[in-house]
């Protein structure tokens, strides 16, 4: 049956629209003048809550900092939290609900799977998200979406940074092996490590790097002895690993009686920051770890100092980890973008974020216009066991590498090209 529109219906519709217009205008005006609500979709329950807590504190400290300094054009920042449960379905429901409630600008995604799911959703719903630690390279490559921004490290910048620093400081170490989690992120980190090492070592020494096949380990295992035995069979001088969190603690613990890390000169840990050291304390093997943010490397930066002191004051924990700085940076980026564009409309904020330079706890960051990936310093720290520290470990060296020297070229919509590293 065809629906018939007659003149009376049109007049009724116009009348209704006319009556509603003042209220719609008032709502829009209010959205552009009252407090700015940012949605934070991050794990607030389950095992990943450990990381979500860093995100929550970092976002709150960032918002407090902005508000204490007059807000954004006089407007206060408010945060609305939702639990992502590290699950794309739950995160999508939360993101959609927040957009419905007016929080179209979001942050807090730590999971690669969630971050990849956010792009199409936010594009259709009219939102934007700044991730706070999601590590997949697909985010700014083959799955690039203009509604998703990463103001933190790309997996390339962090891992290439680790490799370049070690290759420069210990060019004598040419024989490498990897202990790699058998999932997409693990294999990506290994590809980056291997490609960078194969390029850098010959540049520095004139000799080829000898890189063994990686030892692949399953996710969430309670027993790594078989894999440690595999690694023990290799004739190598350095080990790289991107095994993460509790798995890394178990792997490191079970490696000790085998003497795996005593057998080699260097242990490179892609991303555990203080997760392993706070668990193993004085049993921590000496290792270099990549960091989103290491506060000692940024001492004197007011944003970093405020983030560190506020975090310690809130939690009593002396060892904040980088996810806090990533959420903090997302707040700083939104504040600067809203200030620049003068409103919180999604498309205007996206336009303002693209090419934006803003200050953060790791210094100035620049968001590339082409692929929404920030260029920021890559930070690394050397952690050793220490009997003189209450914590049982100490950071005895750290470096902060210029982001431009370690980030890959922008290739939105295309896969990561390892030959460009």
């Amino acid at each position: 049956m065809a629906y018939k529109i007659n003149r009376r219906a049109v007049v009724k519709g116009m009348g209704a629209t006319g009556l509603a217009m003042p209220f719609l205008n008032a709502a829009t005006a209010s959205a552009q003048s009252g407090p700015i609500t940012l949605g934070v979709v991050t794990p607030l329950s389950g095992p990943a809550q450990l990381i979500g807590n860093f995100v929550r504190h970092g976002a709150e400290i960032g918002a407090d900092y902005i508000n204490a300094n007059g807000g954004v054009d006089g407007r206060e920042i408010q945060l609305e939290f939702r639990d992502s449960k590290v699950n794309p379905n739950d995160a999508s429901v939360a993101a959609r609900e927040l957009i419905g409630a007016g929080a179209n600008l979001q942050l807090g995604t730590i999971s690669s799977a969630v971050a990849l799911a956010m792009g199409p959703l936010l594009e259709s719903e009219g939102g934007v998200v700044i991730t706070s630690g999601a590590g997949t390279d697909k985010l700014n490559h083959e799955n690039y979406n203009p509604h998703v921004f990463r103001v933190g490290d790309s997996p390339v910048s962090r891992n290439a940074g680790l490799v370049r620093h070690i290759a420069n400081s210990r060019p004598d170490i040419r024989k490498w092996a990897g202990i790699i989690p058998d999932h997409e992120y693990g294999r990506t980190t290994w590809k980056i490590f291997e490609a960078t090492m194969r390029k850098v070592i010959p540049e520095l020494t004139g000799e080829e790097a000898e890189i063994a096949e990686p030892v692949l380990v399953p996710y969430g295992s309670g027993d790594y002895r078989n894999y440690i035995s595999q690694a023990m069979r290799l004739d190598v001088e350095g080990i790289y690993t991107s095994v993460y969190g509790g798995d890394a603690v178990t792997l490191y613990q079970q490696s000790q009686p085998f003497g795996l890390f005593e057998k080699t000169d260097v242990l490179l840990d892609s991303a555990n920051e203080f997760l392993v050291a706070t668990a193993m304390r004085e049993q921590t093997p000496a290792h270099w770890s990549g960091f989103h943010w290491y506060y000692e490397a940024n001492k004197g930066n007011p944003l970093s100092d405020d983030l560190y002191s506020s975090y310690v004051e809130r939690t009593g924990d002396q060892y904040p980890m980088g996810w806090a700085a990533e959420a903090h940076a997302a707040i700083m980026a939104y504040a600067k973008a809203i200030e620049k564009t003068g409103n919180t409309d999604t498309m205007d904020v996206i336009a303002a974020l693209k090419g934006l330079s803003f200050d953060s706890a790791t210094g100035m960051r620049h968001i590339r216009e082409e692929d929404n990936q920030a260029v920021k310093n890559a930070e690394l720290a050397f952690i050793e066991p220490s009997s003189s520290e209450d914590s049982g470990f100490a950071v005895t060296d750290y470096v902060s590498l210029d982001g431009e020297t370690v980030v890959e070229p922008a290739r939105p919509g295309k896969t990561l090209d390892l030959s460009t590293l």
Binding site: P47, Q49, L50, N53, D182, E213, V215, L216, V217, P218, Y219, G220, S221, G222, D223, R225, N226, Y227, S229, Q230, R233, G245, G246, D247, A248, V249, T250, Q253, Q254, Q256, P257, F258, G259, L275, V276, T278, A279, M280, R281, Q283
Partner: protein
């Protein structure tokens, strides 16, 4: 030779660690016919209790205190088992299996929440006692003493359970109740009490396993799930409710997992699942068959 020796050694370590967790699980299924999803949660609580005991003594324990700590964990979790039987399991005896699964899964979540509230979310870890933190060399094979200890613990636990079930009066009563609770009731046995003893004993084994396996293992609220899948695999393959079957299944799966990883290192962690699927296709009732309690 070195490679084969280490592969067997690692397979035995996997097998006995898994058996320590699976023993209580299969016992409770054999007697109460409850698939206790919460078993991993109580194993985790045992590990955390042992960790707290260790930390209270400065973090580094002599061997005897480590063993006392594991036993204390067993007692604490055994007492929790008493509470769980009174509050939950008693209500599940005459209902469909689906309710048991839901209830024990909910209990697993409660365990995770309780651990989170009591010990927090941070990863924790302790090393084995100094006496077990050495290496034994056999030819060119190096075997960590803690791993040898775990293998021996599994064997001792198996022999002890076999003895308890087949040679002691309580064990025989448990077998009677497992075989026919209705007839046992008619003969004047206190079936409820035997159920309670079984639950306490099974939970105590989970707690003690947590205490024993805690060194060399990261502690986090995820721990409950890490051994649970392996333990369920062993219980299913062994024949639901059979301790002997669980022991043989653990050995079989441990060696398959270990040799699979050795020969096909590019496919880590799948051989346990693959072997489980293939063997169950060939022998769906498991190694010892259903209803062969102990």
């Amino acid at each position: 030779m070195y490679d084969i020796g280490m592969t067997v050694f690692n397979g035995l370590a996997w097998a006995m660690a898994t058996f320590l967790v699976a023993a209580g699980l299969t016992l409770i299924f054999g007697i109460l016919h409850i698939l206790n999803f919460a078993h991993g949660g109580f194993f985790m609580i045992g590990a955390y209790v042992s960790y707290s005991i260790m930390m209270a003594f400065g973090g580094s324990l002599p061997l005897w205190l480590y063993l006392v700590g594991a036993m204390a964990s067993g007692i604490v979790v055994g007492l929790l088992g008493w509470a769980v039987d009174k509050l939950v399991f008693r209500r599940l005896r005459d209902v469909e299996d689906a309710y048991s699964l839901i209830a024990t899964y909910a209990l697993l979540l409660v365990c995770g929440g309780a651990v989170q509230l009591t010990w927090g979310l941070n990863y924790m870890g302790v090393m084995p006692p100094a006496a077990l933190n050495t290496v034994v060399f056999v030819g060119d094979m190096f075997m960590p003493t803690f791993t040898i200890f775990i293998i021996l613990s599994g064997i001792v636990a198996y022999i002890g359970l076999e003895f308890f079930i087949s040679k002691t009066r309580t064990g025989r009563l448990i077998r009677v109740v497992a075989a026919d609770p209705w007839m046992a009731q008619l003969l004047g046995l206190n079936v409820k009490k035997i159920y309670l003893i079984t639950v306490i004993f099974s939970f105590a084994m989970a707690g003690a396993a947590g205490g024993l396996l805690m060194p060399n293992q990261s502690l986090s609220p995820e721990l409950g799930g890490i051994f649970l899948l392996q333990a369920f695999g062993v219980v299913i393959l062994g024949g639901m409710g059979s301790i002997r079957g669980a022991f043989y299944a653990a050995l079989l799966l441990g060696l398959i997992e270990s040799f699979g990883t050795y020969f096909f290192p590019q496919y880590p962690g799948i051989f346990f699942l693959l072997a489980l699927a293939v063997i169950l296709l060939l022998k769906p009732e498991g190694i010892m068959g259903k209803g062969q309690t102990a």
